[in-house]
């Protein structure tokens, strides 16, 4: 046997052993801290409650609402169509399948926006795409949409429009629960927020017939 071949193979084997001993790199690619800081500094992740409301009412199929509050709070009240992933269960198998859905815009929300933003940051670090935070959270959503806050007469038309929209949205969310009592849906729709309710009915009838 040639000495050189022996030497070369010994080197190869040693190198192989060396590779085996190198520390395991985490399989998930991550954003480095500097990139994460830049992402955190960028406010484009925040979506307004009114925008979310509009998308809920229009039954936007690309919207995935994620409630990161504890399960008890989720049971008391949550946004329509939201799924519950408490922050501590963010890495559970169920959460992984939910968050792994392609083509869905995942919107995190909590009572305010702090918990939701932390969930966002953790997901951002592991390079998850299409994730957003609902600015203001459930508290702001509930207190602007489910409660009547008429604008001042002196407010500009934008504020008036917003009020009309929120009023119509309230009618939509309240009206839906009313229907479970047996109220007819059409009279509900005619009362107020006509365009909002009509849109959803036409959509669902198109799918159903």
């Amino acid at each position: 046997m040639n000495k050189q071949y022996l030497l070369l193979s010994a080197i190869l084997i040693l190198a192989g052993i060396g590779l085996m001993l190198t520390p395991k790199k985490s399989a998930v690619k991550e954003l480095n801290p500097e990139q994460l800081l830049l992402a955190v500094d960028d406010p484009s992740r925040f979506l307004s409650t009114d925008l979310i409301t509009e998308r809920i009412i229009k039954k936007d199929p690309s919207l995935l609402l994620i409630d990161v509050r504890p399960a008890e709070q989720y049971k008391v009240f949550s946004l329509q169509g939201a799924v519950n992933i408490p922050l501590s269960l963010l890495f559970s198998e169920e959460a992984k399948t939910l968050l792994g859905q392609e083509g869905k815009e995942k919107v995190f929300f909590s009572n305010d926006d702090i918990l939701a933003d932390q969930a966002w940051q953790i997901c951002k670090r592991i390079k998850m795409n299409d994730i957003f935070v609902m600015k203001g959270g459930v508290n702001f959503w509930f207190n602007t949409i489910m409660k009547d806050n008429p604008p001042n007469v002196t407010d500009d038309s934008k504020a008036q429009d917003l009020y009309t929209f929120r009023k119509a949205a309230r009618q939509y969310f309240m009206g839906n629960t009313n229907q479970s009592q047996g109220n007819s849906s059409e009279s509900e729709g005619k009362k107020e927020g006509v365009n909002v309710v009509k849109k959803t009915t036409s959509k669902s009838s198109g799918g159903g017939c």
Binding site: P33, L36, F77, F91, I114, R125, N143, N176, S205
Partner: protein, 214 residues
């Protein structure tokens, strides 16, 4: 002669290889900042109430003369120059991980000096603080309510009977609004929610179908 030549060549090759490896190792890219916590670990640490500081406590810290606590304002320099808390230093969010800033923070971390961060609201300070926590800096606190609350606290009467207004992530919804308008629906709502599935509000789908006239 031929044999000798071969061994010397081999030795040269070996030396070259070793040189190559050592130079590669020495010039290897080593990031300045490395996460100390895995994403899974930080998920359980996030939003820990220990990280929060109430405006009252901060006020008393500011009034102390020999307090070692460092107060950091993460708003941008314009806002900082218009007005800031006493004794605060300005590190805008995007400069937080600049070499000199992060080195200073790490130094304070080693000496266990508390650092209080504040932004316009609590959110502005809480996100950068979570990054610091992931980097292993553990002596950070966040001012509840932020600068706007500290300087202009809202009237207490607005929050009658509820948690102090600067507490975030407290449910502030009056579910009785829902129940009043729909006395019977609360039950159906609950049943649906117990399933813990996306179809939380089942009635909606039914209602939609009925409206369509099918």
């Amino acid at each position: 002669m031929k044999e000798l030549n071969r061994t010397t060549r081999l030795v040269i090759a070996a030396i070259a290889a070793i040189l190559f490896l050592t130079i590669g190792y020495l010039t290897m890219y080593r990031p300045n900042l490395v996460y100390k916590l895995k994403p899974e670990e930080i998920a359980s640490k996030a939003c820990n109430p220990v990280r929060l500081m109430s405006p009252e406590v901060l006020k008393s810290i500011i009034s102390q003369k020999d307090s070692k606590t460092v107060i950091v304002d993460v708003r941008n320099t314009d806002e900082f120059s218009k007005g800031h808390l006493d004794k605060a230093v300005n590190i805008p969010v995007r400069n937080l991980l600049d070499r000199k800033n992060i080195d200073k923070i790490k130094e304070l971390s080693k000496s266990h000096t508390m650092i209080v961060f504040y932004g316009n609201d609590q959110l502005q300070a809480s996100s950068p603080c979570l990054i610091l926590q992931q980097l292993g800096v553990d002596n950070v606190k966040i001012l509840q309510g932020g600068y706007s609350f500290f300087t202009h606290p809202p009237a207490d009467s607005l929050y009658k009977g509820q948690a102090a207004p600067y507490f975030s992530e407290v449910p502030r919804i009056d579910t009785s609004v829902l129940k009043k308008s729909t006395p019977a629906s609360s039950e159906t709502g609950k049943n649906a929610k117990d399933n813990k599935k996306p179809e939380v509000l089942k009635p909606v789908k039914k209602a939609g179908g009925a409206g369509g006239g099918c």
